[in-house]
């Protein structure tokens, strides 16, 4: 009896601690504002660069005949990819009852939303006449002209649009009970805002019941969605006849790549975040290690895809495909290609060593490498193939101009900007879920046990 008493007491203590810690995390330091400032400056520069491009025409980019797609589309694919791991962690792992995800799921979801917001900008930035972007939406107009649903770009519009809406809703629904926590711990106008945002959440049994069921179904819908989105993105290339693009393995290949890069980004974000917000007790080495394990798996899948591509090119005896892959392996694109192999295939192998994957320094470094590697991969696939198409008399080499580089940089600042706002104003870890898993841990040790394993 007394034992039970004590466990209950400690649990209450823990619950209070959770609230305390999370709320404390919302108190920013000077470093925070410094970062925010830097982001804003970089964004401003990017905006200026883009307006320059709009006024001058795309001649200010490095793009050229025949390489019509370059850094912008690369970056688009990159950010969409980043988004994916968020959904993986929050939805897929949720369905698989991998409880350890609880602590990092919130951050991952936020990352998804912001990454899609960033990605969505690039198709517009890269347009020749961006002021007409809305022509890509099927809206009724007096011309009775609609959009061409056969075009993968329209699939993109729908896939990315859906993805953004769904992940945003998923993020918000999960947030509602925690907003109530904020409400109950704030006063004045903040309290008003939070009480509106939390939809007047009381935490009644019935609320929780519908909440859980909604959350479950959203997760169930998000899972096929996340697979479809990057498949669609990959079809931008796979359905084209460009040698080096036109490949059946692209969908799974890209989805794996997306999750791979996303997981890396999770590490890149969480390792500093948990230190700064000192949430080390919630986002533990154990979590990071699990992410690292997932990275190994996805890295191996990606490496396998690389080999498959090369094998196809060789075995098909299709001279065009061979030209492209030779130009990657030993031609003008060799440096990028091998950089990509180093970052995406070799570096992650280090995670096979427990010591290394439990060392935050190593984790962080390699996660950065993977980010670079995955951007390079998309660049090599997109520009590398275009530069070596059928008409060899039109071959040319492409390298991004300062405009493209600065817009790429600005996209990172833009992403960081939102993420900073997020960790400053919203609970970076799902309070209710953490409490729930604490409760489970307390009541059936088995779940604790499984937590160690997953």
């Amino acid at each position: 009896m007394s034992l039970q008493e004590s466990t209950q007491a400690t649990q209450r203590g823990n619950f209070q601690k959770v609230n305390r810690d999370v709320l404390r995390a919302l108190q920013p330091g000077p470093l925070y504002f410094a970062l925010l400032g830097v982001c804003l400056i970089v964004i401003a520069f990017g905006v200026w660069a883009w307006s320059h491009q709009v006024l001058e025409g795309l001649a200010v980019t490095g793009l050229r005949h025949p390489v019509m797609w370059g850094a912008y589309i690369t970056t688009f694919v990159f950010w969409v990819g980043i988004a994916h791991s968020g959904t993986l962690i929050s939805a897929i792992l949720f369905l698989f009852r991998a409880r350890w995800r609880a602590a990092i799921s919130r951050a991952a979801e936020a990352m998804t939303v912001f990454a899609v917001m960033t990605a969505g900008l690039f198709p517009i930035i890269h347009l020749g006449r961006p002021w007409l972007f809305y022509w890509l939406l099927p809206y009724p107009n007096e011309r009775t002209l609609w959009v061409n649903f056969r075009s993968p770009l329209i699939w993109d519009v729908f896939a990315v649009g859906t993805y953004f809406t769904v992940s945003a809703m998923f993020f918000y629904v999960g947030l509602v009970p925690d907003l109530a926590v904020l409400r109950d711990n704030s006063t004045g106008w903040k309290r008003r805002i939070f009480s509106v945002a939390s939809l007047g959440w009381l935490g009644t049994g019935r609320e929780w019941k519908h909440f859980s069921s909604a959350y479950l179904f959203l997760a169930a819908l998000a899972t096929p969605l996340v697979v479809s989105v990057h498949s669609v993105v990959s079809w931008d290339f796979a359905v084209a006849i460009v040698p080096g693009w036109h490949s059946t393995i692209f969908a799974p290949y890209f989805v794996a790549g997306a999750i791979f890069s996303g997981l890396a980004m999770v590490l890149t974000l969480l390792i500093p975040a948990r230190a700064i917000l000192n949430l080390k007790d919630y986002i533990t080495l154990h979590h990071l290690e699990n992410v690292a394990k997932l990275i190994i798996v996805s890295s191996l899948i990606v490496s396998y895809a690389y080999l498959t591509e090369l094998f196809f090119a060789w075995y098909s005896e299709n001279p065009f495909a061979q030209t492209v892959f030779l130009s990657r392996a030993v031609g003008d694109f060799a440096p990028l290609f091998w950089l990509m192999v180093l970052c995406n295939c070799l570096a992650p192998l280090l995670f096979f060593f427990r010591k290394l994957r439990r060392n935050t320094g190593v984790l962080f470094a390699i996660s950065l490498l993977i980010n670079v590697g995955m951007w390079t991969e998309r660049f090599v696939i997109i520009s590398g193939s275009l530069a070596r198409e059928y008409a060899r008399t039109s071959w040319d080499i492409y390298s991004p101009s300062w405009v493209e580089w600065s817009i790429l940089l600005a996209s990172f600042a833009w992403f960081a900007f939102w993420f900073l706002l997020f960790i400053r104003h919203l609970p970076a870890i799902p309070i209710a879920e953490v409490k729930e898993s604490m409760h489970r841990a307390a009541h059936d040790p088995s779940s604790l046990h499984t937590e160690q394993q997953t």
Binding site: Y139, E142, R143
Partner: protein, 168 residues
């Protein structure tokens, strides 16, 4: 407060949508610029029964209908109504040997190739696009001249709706 929100949010959304629709289908108000000479179609067409083709003489043999040359105007106005205000101005241009800078009323964008000849031959009445000019003392645009407007007729008359008919 939370409850009233339930009503506020939807209303706002609906308003926004409505605004959007208005923006997509803008209202066409009649465009009627002031001309260098206050030319009165009503007088010329209704009162004196001059045919369109008399002045816009290219309409049946060229993509452009053409505006009458100053000489054509002077042809009559050397004698007719020589003292009226408008004709004085006209005479001024004639004396100075300057063409009259009429303001275009029915403007098509550069990327549209319209052919008067084809339409006249297809027996499309001038009024179908230009309206009842014979009743207009001051000329104004009656048709939106938007693509949808063209298509309406083309679909009805089973004329070509291939983009290349007008866009090249």
């Amino acid at each position: 407060m939370s409850k009233s929100l339930l009503l506020v949010v939807p209303t706002v959304l609906i308003l926004v949508l409505a605004a959007g629709c208005l923006w997509i289908f803008p209202q066409e108000e009649a465009y009627s610029p002031d001309q260098p000479i206050a030319f009165d179609h009503k007088v010329h067409v209704t009162d004196f029964g001059i045919q369109c083709l008399y002045c816009h003489s290219y309409a049946d043999r060229s993509p452009f209908a053409g505006v009458p040359s100053v000489e054509r105007c002077m042809g009559c106005h050397l004698i007719v109504a020589a003292q009226t205000e408008g004709v004085k101005t006209l005479n001024g241009y004639w004396q100075r040997g300057e063409p009259i800078p009429w303001i275009k009323v029915n403007v098509l964008p550069r990327f549209v190739h319209f052919n008067h000849e084809a339409h006249v031959r297809a027996e499309v009445d001038c009024a179908q696009c230009h309206g009842k000019v014979e009743n207009m003392s001051k000329l104004s645009r009656v048709s939106s001249l938007t693509m949808g407007w063209c298509l309406e007729c083309h679909r009805q008359e089973e004329a070509s709706v291939d983009c290349l008919t007008c866009h090249y």
